[in-house]
C-alpha cells in the first residue's frame, strides 16, 4: 500500500497559508506598522489588535506581516543567489570532474568550514548592514550546499546511457549539461531549495536578532524577537507572535523539503 506523503501535504498547506498571508501583507496591513500610540503600549490581544501592541503601541499583527514579508524576500533572493551560483559551479565540476573539480570543491570546503554566522558577520561588517548586503552574505554561504548537491547529481547523471547517447549524437557540452542533465536533477534540487528557504529564514532572523540584518524602521522578525525579550513576562504575546511567524515559515518549508525528498 502506498503511504501518503503527509510531510508534503502539510508542508504545502502551511507554506501556502503563510505565503498568502504575507502576500496580503505586501499590499495591506490592518494598521500602519510604524504608527506609534503610547496609550496602546504593551496592550494584549483584543478584537481591534488581534496580536496586541508592542512597547511603542504599534500593532504587532501588522508588524509581523511586514517583518515576515521582508524575511521572505530576503530568503527568496538569498536562495536564488545561492541556487544559481551553486548550480553553475556544481554543473561544471560534476560534469567535467578532474582537477577543476578538486580545486573548486576544496574551496567549497573552506567556505563551508567557517561558522556561518561568523562568516556573515564578517561580510556584513565589510559591506555594511542592510537588506542587499544580507542577501549577498547569506547567498555566498548557500553556494557550497547547492554546488555539492548539483555536483553529485551531475556526476551521477552524466554516466547515464541517455547522456552517453546525447554525446554520441554530437550534442555540445553546454547543451548536455543544461538541456539533458539539469532537468533530471531538478527533483533533488527542489527539496534542497526548500530546505534552503528554511535555513535562509533562520539565518536572516539570526542576523536581525543580532542587529546586523534589516535596519529600523523596517520591521523584522528577528529584531522583534530581540526587542520583545525585555517584555517576555509582561507581554508574552509580543514574543509569541514574532516567534510564531518564524516557526510557521520554517515548519512549512521544512515539511515541504522532507515531502519533496520522499517523492520516489
Amino acid at each position: 500500500m502506498k503511504k501518503r506523503n503527509y510531510n508534503l501535504i502539510f508542508g504545502i498547506i502551511i507554506t501556502t497559508f503563510v505565503v498568502i498571508l504575507l502576500t496580503i501583507g505586501i499590499f495591506w496591513t490592518p494598521y500602519d506598522p510604524d504608527m506609534m500610540n503610547v496609550k496602546l503600549r504593551l496592550t494584549g490581544p483584543s478584537p481591534e489588535h488581534i496580536l496586541g501592541c508592542d512597547n511603542f503601541g504599534r500593532d504587532i499583527f501588522s508588524r509581523v506581516l511586514k517583518g515576515g514579508v521582508s524575511t521572505l524576500w530576503i530568503s527568496v533572493f538569498t536562495v536564488l543567489f545561492g541556487l544559481v551560483c551553486g548550480v553553475i559551479v556544481g554543473a561544471f565540476t560534476g560534469y567535467y570532474g578532474g582537477v577543476l573539480d578538486e580545486v573548486v570543491m576544496r574551496l567549497n570546503d573552506v567556505l563551508n568550514s567557517f561558522p556561518s554566522i561568523l562568516f556573515s558577520l564578517v561580510i556584513v561588517s565589510l559591506l555594511g548592514p542592510g537588506k542587499k548586503n544580507v542577501v549577498i552574505a547569506l547567498g555566498l554561504l548557500f553556494i557550497p550546499s547547492f554546488a555539492r548537491i548539483t555536483r553529485s547529481e551531475f556526476s551521477r547523471i552524466k554516466n547515464m546511457d541517455y547522456v552517453k547517447c546525447a554525446k554520441l549524437e554530437g550534442v555540445p557540452p553546454l547543451r548536455i549539461m543544461f538541456v539533458h542533465i539539469l532537468p533530471n536533477a531538478v527533483n533533488t534540487l527542489l527539496s534542497t531549495t526548500a530546505i534552503g528557504f528554511n535555513n535562509a529564514v533562520l539565518a536572516e532572523a539570526s542576523l536581525s536578532f543580532l542587529g546586523i540584518g534589516v535596519q529600523p524602521p523596517d520591521p523584522s522578525l528577528g529584531r522583534m524577537l530581540a526587542e520583545s525579550q525585555t517584555y517576555l513576562f509582561s507581554a508574552p504575546w509580543y514574543t509569541l507572535s514574532a516567534g510564531g511567524m518564524i516557526i510557521l515559515l520554517v515548519l512549512g518549508f521544512g515539511l515541504l523539503s522532507d515531502g519533496l525528498g520522499d517523492i520516489e
Binding site: Y162, K167, L168, G170
Partner: protein
C-alpha cells in the same frame, strides 16, 4: 574502405593490468553489415566506442589508428568529432529505455541530431521526424512524438533510437547488442528493420552481439573477439559452418540447438 582500424590498443590508467584491448585491426566497406561477437568482457563495446572516441573522456588511452571516411579519428579536434557523431555515425545501445532521456518526449529526441547537424527549418525538421517514425514502423507518428519513453515498450524505444540514429542518414550505424533487452519476436523485427535500412539507405552496420546466431541473421562478415584480441574473422557462413579457431567452435557450441535450427 569506409572504416579502417589498425592496431587499436585501449588502455585504462585506473585499471590493474591496464590494457583492455590489445591491438585489433579490421576494416569495413561502405554499406557493409559487419558483426563483432565474443563473450562478455571481450572488448566489443570498447572497440566500438573507440571509433567515436567517447572513451577518452573516461581517461582511456587510445593507441593505433582509426580512419573513417577520410578522417583520422584519433587526431581530430573535439569540435570536428561532434560534427561526425550523430551525422556520420549513429549509435544504438543495449538498453533502449535507458538510452532515452526520461523527461523529454521522443519527438524532440529524434529531432535533436537534425537540430545540431542541419540548417533545416522547424517545419522541415518536423516532417523529417514524422517520416522517420513511419520508417521504423511506429504507430501514429503524430501521437508518438509527444509520448515519453516510459509510455513506450522496449521494442518501441529501440525503434525510436534507430529513427534518431539514422535521421541524418549516417554512413555507419553502430549497434551494441541492440536486441539483448528485447524478447525474441521483437528481436526478429528489429533485425529485419536494421537489414531493410541497410538495403534502402546503404548505411553500414557494425553489429555487436555475444550471440553468433543473431549475427548470422544480419551480417555478411564477422569478427570474433576474445579477451581483447581478434581471434578469427571472415565470412559469417564460413565461420559458422567451418570455424577454424577452437574458441569460435566453443562459441558456436554454446548456442542453444533450438535457435540453431531456426536460423
Amino acid at each position: 574502405m569506409m572504416l579502417e582500424v589498425k592496431d587499436l590498443v585501449i588502455r585504462f590508467h585506473d585499471r590493474i593490468g591496464g590494457e583492455a584491448v590489445h591491438g585489433v585491426s579490421f576494416s569495413m566497406a561502405a554499406g557493409e553489415r559487419l558483426g563483432i561477437v565474443g563473450e562478455s568482457g571481450a572488448g566489443k563495446t570498447l572497440t566500438a566506442l573507440a571509433i567515436t572516441r567517447l572513451l577518452r573522456e573516461d581517461n582511456a588511452e587510445l593507441l593505433g589508428s582509426i580512419r573513417f571516411m577520410g578522417h583520422d579519428m584519433l587526431n581530430t579536434s573535439g569540435k570536428e568529432m561532434r560534427k561526425i557523431r550523430g551525422k556520420e555515425i549513429g549509435f544504438i545501445f543495449q538498453d533502449p529505455v535507458a538510452s532515452l532521456n526520461p523527461l523529454m518526449p521522443v519527438g524532440p529526441q529524434i529531432e535533436e541530431p537534425l537540430l545540431l547537424h542541419t540548417d533545416l527549418s522547424k517545419a522541415e525538421r518536423e516532417e523529417r521526424v514524422l517520416q522517420a517514425i513511419r520508417d521504423v514502423d511506429l504507430p501514429e507518428p503524430e501521437v508518438t512524438i509527444r509520448k515519453y519513453p516510459h509510455q513506450l515498450s522496449g521494442g518501441q524505444c529501440q525503434r525510436v533510437m534507430i529513427a534518431s540514429a539514422l535521421i541524418c542518414h549516417p554512413s555507419l550505424l553502430i549497434a551494441d547488442e541492440p536486441t539483448t533487452a528485447l524478447d525474441v519476436t521483437v528481436q526478429t523485427q528489429i533485425l529485419k528493420l536494421l537489414k531493410r535500412k541497410n538495403e534502402e539507405e546503404n548505411v553500414g552496420i557494425l553489429y555487436i552481439s555475444h550471440d553468433l546466431s543473431l549475427v548470422r541473421r544480419l551480417c555478411t562478415r564477422v569478427i570474433v573477439m576474445y579477451n581483447g584480441n581478434i581471434v578469427e574473422t571472415g565470412d559469417v557462413e564460413q565461420i559458422f559452418t567451418h570455424p577454424k579457431e577452437e574458441y569460435t567452435q566453443r562459441l558456436i557450441a554454446a548456442i542453444p540447438t533450438r535457435s540453431k535450427r531456426y536460423v
